[in-house]
Symmetry: C2
Subunit: 267 residues, 2 copies
Amino acid sequence: MILIKIGGGKKINLDAICSDIKTLIDKGEQIVLVHGASTIRDEIATSLNHPTKTIISPSGVSSVYTDAKSIDIFLMAYVGLVNKRLVEKLQQHGVNAIGLSGIDGRLWQGKRKKVVYSQIEGKTKLISDSMTGKVEKINSPLISILIENGYTPVLCPPAISDENEIINTDNDWATGVMVGALHIEKMIVLFEAPGMLKTFGDEKSLVKTIKKDELDSYIQYAQGRMKKKVIGAREAFRLGLKAMYWADGRIENPVINALEGGGTIIS
Amino acid sequence: MILIKIGGGKKINLDAICSDIKTLIDKGEQIVLVHGASTIRDEIATSLNHPTKTIISPSGVSSVYTDAKSIDIFLMAYVGLVNKRLVEKLQQHGVNAIGLSGIDGRLWQGKRKKVVYSQIEGKTKLISDSMTGKVEKINSPLISILIENGYTPVLCPPAISDENEIINTDNDWATGVMVGALHIEKMIVLFEAPGMLKTFGDEKSLVKTIKKDELDSYIQYAQGRMKKKVIGAREAFRLGLKAMYWADGRIENPVINALEGGGTIIS
């Protein structure tokens, strides 16, 4: 089973990804997809006069501030618009896709964070209305049932809390937990860059291979959301992953390119 | 198996519906839910400066004019917001719900209407960019797999066309086709009225029972979208339905009330 995570950027070539997925499925591979939708989420949030706010944790990791209204917008963007348009595209490529969010059948379950800390102008502020949490449990039998019956699961946040509330959750962490639950050995992460870059913005500084034990030292190169990818990757390897491929989602044959080492291979 | 269709009005008592569903499931009933989201769809459409437009067919049936942008809004409202908030509520009541749209796993498949006719100021206008169609085929094995594994399916439009496009579709018709495909004998329709009314707006004019063979004569009492309900009901009986319950979705125990004859029973 291969887990493919598709970033939420607008330049991602979804048609090319769907085409590669069809090729892999025809070869007998089992695929699980997880996607983002951050760009479209931000656009809808702005249109609805509730622009996305970012908070920075005391350890320097940025994340989205999510109140109840943000969850509504999150649902519209991730589950409504992006998930279903991706399912439609996969169907057009002959892949019988089923789109599910983490709350359906308690697919992604976790604890809601009662409080979140944010660094604002050098001070630490406590936020208590945050609807976020960390995925701890995967309903892997549900994914297995779907795959056994010929469907390709297309998954996205939000998740569901132990108290049955919808919570926003970090995709990179959730995919790490999925690796463990589904005994996934290969995971592909597609985004708007050729892979891990030593110098932010300089595509020539692509790192071709990283040893999984040396991931920590790469946190220094990681900018913004890349930090979360490194943390998620570390968790995925702890849970049994054999190889992770970070590669360009904007090009032709992005999935095949990733598997053939066109981006960064961590193993 | 009981099919419950929940209208898209804002006064529908979703908590009471979820509570009744939990009671029925605990008694061993199998439940499939289908819901609307018209009020929230219209609100989002207005917020996004793309207000919902209604067209009237030459035979006098009103429906929503759906272009590609309307499909995006439709996805946000039906699949994103309303479906997932209902799944969350069911989970809170102890029902392991899974929300799916008609495009997931080709659950609701049909033909896109290449042209739609609209009556405007006495003239018939041809509309060619309409993304609408009629459901003809149900993926009933998928619904069976979910139910057999302890999940309660929560379904909503849109559907998928034979050419793999997302199409808006009439819920009342689609539920009729589901009745045939799943051999459903009982169907409950919950909306913001006590049942079929002889006089529009007069809740005292409730019709307690209708013989299925006399449904046609009730088209004269049906106003606006109620016409579609009568047409959908006719199709459901043609496909094997034994009893249909039209009842109030705003009250306590709306599902139990419907089954006990508190609204209109058609049989």
